[in-house]
């Protein structure tokens, strides 16, 4: 590997399975301990992250689904907004963070904003696509039955687009979960991202590994949950 003499070997630093299990046991024994603001359990941190995600992501869904409907129903609006969406979409959560910190002058709101902005796009794009792609036949059925507009929206358009919307929501939740860790490293204070950052600063690789595992498992559970909803809402044509 050709490390210089200053490459102090710290291969012994990577935790052995036993070290990892010990560290994990200490953390998982009382995951919700709260010994003052500087020393809270990993379960508590995970909860803080989930709450943040719930807020930011919930807000994104609340905005993106109606917004996506409008965009999906109007090719004109779609064409007008498309370039903006395309440019804003690939911007990293971490790049949004400074701007959010600078403009939104409220504690929690920055982190929530970053989750919001990252998970907004997949939901918006998929909703618009799903609504625009609803089979003409089904709309024609509603038309020939002279169904009122709000029943058309809730009984035809929404269920028809639901599988596409929920796919977007699943992708969006995945991105929110990727972003929360980044956001919490910066805005800090609480959350599993902050936990990782803190343990990294303490060079506690065993704890970082544990946190990473928890992030993975939580992300998987969230995804499975959405997979379940997705299967429920998906109809067979």
């Amino acid at each position: 590997m050709g490390h210089g003499p200053n490459a102090a070997s710290h291969s012994e630093g990577f935790p052995t399975p036993k070290q990892f299990l010990d560290a994990a046991w200490i953390q998982l024994r009382e995951p919700f301990h709260d010994r003052g603001p500087n020393d809270r359990g990993i379960g508590w941190q995970l909860g803080a992250s989930l709450l943040r995600v719930a807020l930011g992501y919930g807000l994104a869904v609340l905005v993106a689904v109606p917004g996506g409907f409008i965009i999906g129903l109007s090719p004109l609006i779609r064409r007008a907004l498309d370039p903006f969406i395309q440019i804003l979409r690939p911007i990293s959560p971490l790049a949004w963070m400074p701007i959010a910190l600078y403009t939104i002058r409220n504690a929690e709101e920055c982190g929530i904003f970053v989750i919001f902005i990252c998970s907004l796009w997949p939901v918006l794009i998929n909703t618009a696509f799903g609504v625009a792609a609803v089979r003409r036949d089904w709309l024609n059925v509603a038309k020939t039955l002279e169904v009122v507009w709000w029943r058309q929206i809730f009984l035809v358009l929404l269920p028809a687009a639901a599988p596409t919307i929920i796919t977007g929501m699943r992708v969006g939740l995945g991105i929110a979960w990727l972003a929360i860790v980044a956001a919490e490293m910066l805005v800090g204070g609480s959350g599993i991202g902050y936990f990782v950052w803190n343990q990294w600063n303490n060079l506690s690789i065993a704890n970082v590994l544990l946190a990473v595992l928890m992030i993975g498992i939580t992300g998987m559970v969230l995804d499975l949950l959405f997979g379940f909803i997705q299967r429920r809402l998906t109809y067979v044509e």
């Binding site: 630093g13 910190l101 060079l203």
Partner: protein, 390 residues
């Protein structure tokens, strides 16, 4: 920049001759110190804060070059990363927080790594900054429930803030929240209201004033005048492998500290440090923090020439204070021989030796013989008279 180059080469010439003369005077013992270094191309890390001044000047003013060293400075985003890159061998040497060589050598949080403070970079130069909304809560006794940012656990900032809070009767572990935050995030988080204040490095204290979002509660010079902040460090294996390079680095850093410590050089330093390649900050902000002639954020212009100081000596008593504080706050629990550790990690004797090689410099204070100066930290003397250090 043309002017700077000219000036710098002129000074470099003088410095070089001075070094030769010093070597001649001190006899044969250090004649080998002018022989070519074993490793001339060096990667050195720095964090863009005022504490990095000697390192930046050693490059900008050519002190490294005079020692035959070609130093490539690498700007690094945080202390954990500095640590990892130094230990990974990606950096040959780096600016470090003064407690880091101790915590790394003790293996706090990881396996022990022999890291050494080969010079101190600076003394003082930090401050406690509070959000403007707290301008009526200057008494630390009222700070219960507040959130403060610090740059790293193993930092003087953490230890000084804890000592300060404890001095005023607060339990830093339970009465307030301490949050690790990188310095630029401190300012943004202060603005966003995520934190109530921070004990952070300059120029970010002054930056908070400049942005009209915070005021300077107290300079750390007022807590402990002459406290160390950042060290310049490397691993023991590097020292063993490249002894001449090690000494050459020490000499360059001694010169740089001396140069920085001269008040007449501070304006030029501010100009150089403001450049995008270094601190990338408004010059006026750096200038205020370097000269100690500054707006405190509450409408008063303060003058404290001790705000920033530069001294290359890693005194043993500094290391012992740090060790005692690490023990006090629970970072260090197993028994250690503090004195032995201090001598092993803080290479004061070598700095004195190389300072002698360099010869007298205008900004350079004489070292306190033996390496055990007494300090007054919030009115307490350290080491206490009759303590183990003496």
């Amino acid at each position: 920049s043309c002017g700077i180059m000219h000036f710098s080469s002129g000074l470099g010439r003088r410095g070089f001759l001075g070094g030769l003369a010093a070597a001649g005077i001190s006899g044969t013992a250090h004649a080998n110190s002018v022989v070519p270094v074993e490793k001339a191309e060096l990667k050195v890390g720095f964090v863009p804060i005022s504490c990095a001044a000697p390192l930046i000047m050693a490059v900008a003013k050519g002190f490294f070059q005079e020692e035959g060293l070609n130093v490539h400075l690498q700007k690094i985003a945080g202390w954990a990363l500095v640590r990892d890159r130094l230990l990974n061998g990606e950096l040959d040497a780096s600016q470090l927080l003064a407690p880091m060589p101790i915590s790394l050598s003790l293996g706090l949080g990881s396996a022990a790594q022999p890291v050494r403070a080969i010079t101190m970079q600076n003394i003082n130069g930090q401050a406690i900054t509070l959000a403007l909304k707290h301008h009526n809560r200057r008494d630390p006794r009222d700070w219960k429930g507040m959130t403060f940012a610090i740059p790293f656990e193993y930092s003087m900032h953490n230890l000084l803030l804890r000592d300060y809070l404890a001095h005023y009767g607060l339990d830093p572990d339970h009465d307030v929240t301490l949050r690790i935050t990188s310095p630029p995030d401190m300012v943004a988080n202060l603005r966003a209201g995520n934190i109530d204040g921070f004990l952070g490095p300059d120029p970010f204290n002054q930056r908070a004033v400049y942005e009209q979002i915070g005021f300077i509660q107290t300079l750390t010079a007022q807590i402990w005048d002459g406290h160390p902040c950042c060290a310049f460090g490397m691993t023991q294996p590097f020292i063993d492998a490249y002894p001449n390079t090690y000494s050459a680095l020490q000499r360059a850093m001694i010169r740089a500290a001396a140069w920085m410590n001269a008040p007449e050089n501070r304006l030029e330093a501010a100009r150089i440090m403001a450049q995008p390649a270094y601190l990338n900050q408004p010059e006026i902000v750096i200038r205020q923090s370097l000269t100690g002639h500054y707006a405190d954020g509450l409408g008063v212009v303060q003058d404290n020439p001790h705000r920033a100081g530069y001294s290359p000596y890693p005194y043993y008593s500094m290391a012992m204070w740090i060790e005692s504080q690490l023990r006090r706050w629970g970072y260090l629990q197993r028994p250690t021989d503090a004195l032995k550790l201090a001598r092993e990690i803080y290479l004061f004797d070598d700095v004195v030796q190389q300072a002698r090689v360099v010869g007298p410099l205008s900004g350079l204070q004489d070292p306190v013989a033996g390496g055990f100066p007494e300090f007054s930290v919030l009115g307490q003397t350290f080491p206490r008279a009759g303590g183990q250090a003496l």
